[in-house]
């Protein structure tokens, strides 16, 4: 069993959200850590798509969990935990952009790729496959950043990076489910069109 699969299984083994929250409320010091471990990468990636800077995305991720920690005592499971978590995340991303608009400092950094490059050891093991995967990732990132409207991007990111259902994405964004489906359809269609040339050349 490869390293990748094992790591995946580890994540699957983490307890359900409701169970973790119950344990945090009871004062279980490990439960909050597990909750962070379960969601940190998703929250970070969502923030990264919005801020395009590692420092800011990490800062937002920390802030999200600090708010979650403070609100957990009064949190009632009316909606799913992840929906609430991503609501907090998207509010913080909106705040981030508001404060940036105020101090409006354009810099070249904004143009940099949103996602970190693969590590050297990955490249060493399967150079061709990894280079190809990287090209696909780069293309998809480009479409997400340049060709999607704000709403399409939000829906797409929450659906794929947040791992939410259509219903939950609709709740986070405060729009109808049909609207979310339409945004997703448009977003994936655009990505599909961008990847088509690669597919036709048989590179995928």
């Amino acid at each position: 069993m490869g390293e990748k699969r094992k790591r995946k299984l580890n994540i699957e083994e983490l307890p359900e959200d409701e169970e973790l929250i119950k344990r945090i409320k009871e004062g279980d010091e490990r439960a909050f850590e597990l909750l962070m471990r379960k969601y940190k990468r998703r929250v970070y990636l969502i923030a990264l798509q919005s801020t395009k800077s590692h420092e800011d995305a990490e800062d937002i991720t920390q802030e999200v969990f600090i708010r979650v920690f403070k609100s957990i005592p009064s949190w009632e499971p009316r909606a799913s935990f992840s929906t609430w978590l991503y609501k907090v995340t998207s509010h913080l991303c909106v705040d981030y952009h508001r404060s940036r608009v105020r101090q409006r400092v354009e810099s070249v950094d904004d143009e940099e790729a949103a996602v970190p490059e693969p590590r050297a050891e990955d490249l060493a093991s399967h150079p061709d496959r990894v280079a190809e995967e990287r090209e696909i990732r780069r293309l998809i990132d480009e479409v997400i950043q340049k060709n999607l409207s704000g709403r399409q991007r939000d829906a797409f990111i929450l659906y794929y990076y947040g791992g939410l259902q259509v219903k939950e994405v609709a709740e986070v964004l405060g729009v109808a489910e049909g609207t979310v489906k339409m945004h997703l359809f448009r977003a994936v269609s655009k990505i599909r069109e961008a990847l088509k040339p690669l597919k036709e050349r048989g590179e995928i």
Binding site: D28, R37, Y44, L45, E58, P73, I136, F185, I204
Partner: protein
């Protein structure tokens, strides 16, 4: 339903995220529509690539977030201690007035009582909900990992020296001692923050 109604449902269809009704509508339409069947096929491989990309992104950010939990705990702990300190200062603000020299004796007494009763970090305000206190227990446990009781006691006495006695120079010395003796702990972090915000630097 025509093609225009079906197409937007295909993504959710691939992810098995449709109601039974919608799924049946999509399936019966697909039987008679080669155009949508082709779109479905293309959607399937696009979604596969997307999922691979998301997974690859998740893996590549893992090393960047290795110490996120610790950073969150540190920020929570620092906030918590700052809050406790603010309460302390509010409670004793009058002692800093020049006319209240007599009250310095009371300050010394309070200091003694404080050290005697707060062997660890200070408590949260009593009006916080009981559950918050329980959740706080998590931080308290973590605090023991990052800073020992002694460091916190020193830190608190430095606060008293600085905010109650107004002797920044002496407080500066104690803060530095905390930093020196407890490198990398929350206590050291708070101490260096105090040093950086001091108006008077020896």
């Amino acid at each position: 339903m025509n093609c225009n109604d079906i197409a937007p449902l295909l993504i959710a269809y691939v992810h098995n995220d449709l109601s039974d009704e919608e799924r049946e509508a999509v399936e019966s339409h697909l039987k008679n529509c080669p155009e949508c069947s082709r779109t479905l096929e293309e959607t399937i491989w696009t979604v596969e690539l997307l999922e691979r990309k998301v997974e690859a992104d998740m893996e590549s950010v893992e090393p960047l977030l290795g110490d996120l939990e610790v950073k969150v705990y540190r920020r929570l702990a620092a906030e918590w201690v700052r809050e406790a300190r603010r309460r302390w200062i509010d409670r004793l603000w009058f002692l800093r007035r020049p006319w209240a020299w007599a009250a310095y004796a009371a300050a010394a007494l309070a200091f003694g009582v404080y050290i005697g009763s707060h062997h660890l970090a200070p408590e949260r305000p009593a009006d916080q909900p009981a559950l918050a206190a329980k959740a706080d227990e998590c931080i308290r446990m973590r605090l023991r990992m990052y800073a020992d009781e002694e460091a916190f006691r020193k830190l608190e006495s430095a606060h008293v020296i600085k905010y109650v006695r107004g002797d920044e120079w002496k407080a500066w010395g104690v803060y530095n001692q905390v930093i020196r003796e407890n490198p990398g702990t929350v206590a050291a972090m708070i101490a260096s923050e105090e040093i950086s915000t001091a108006e008077y630097k020896p």
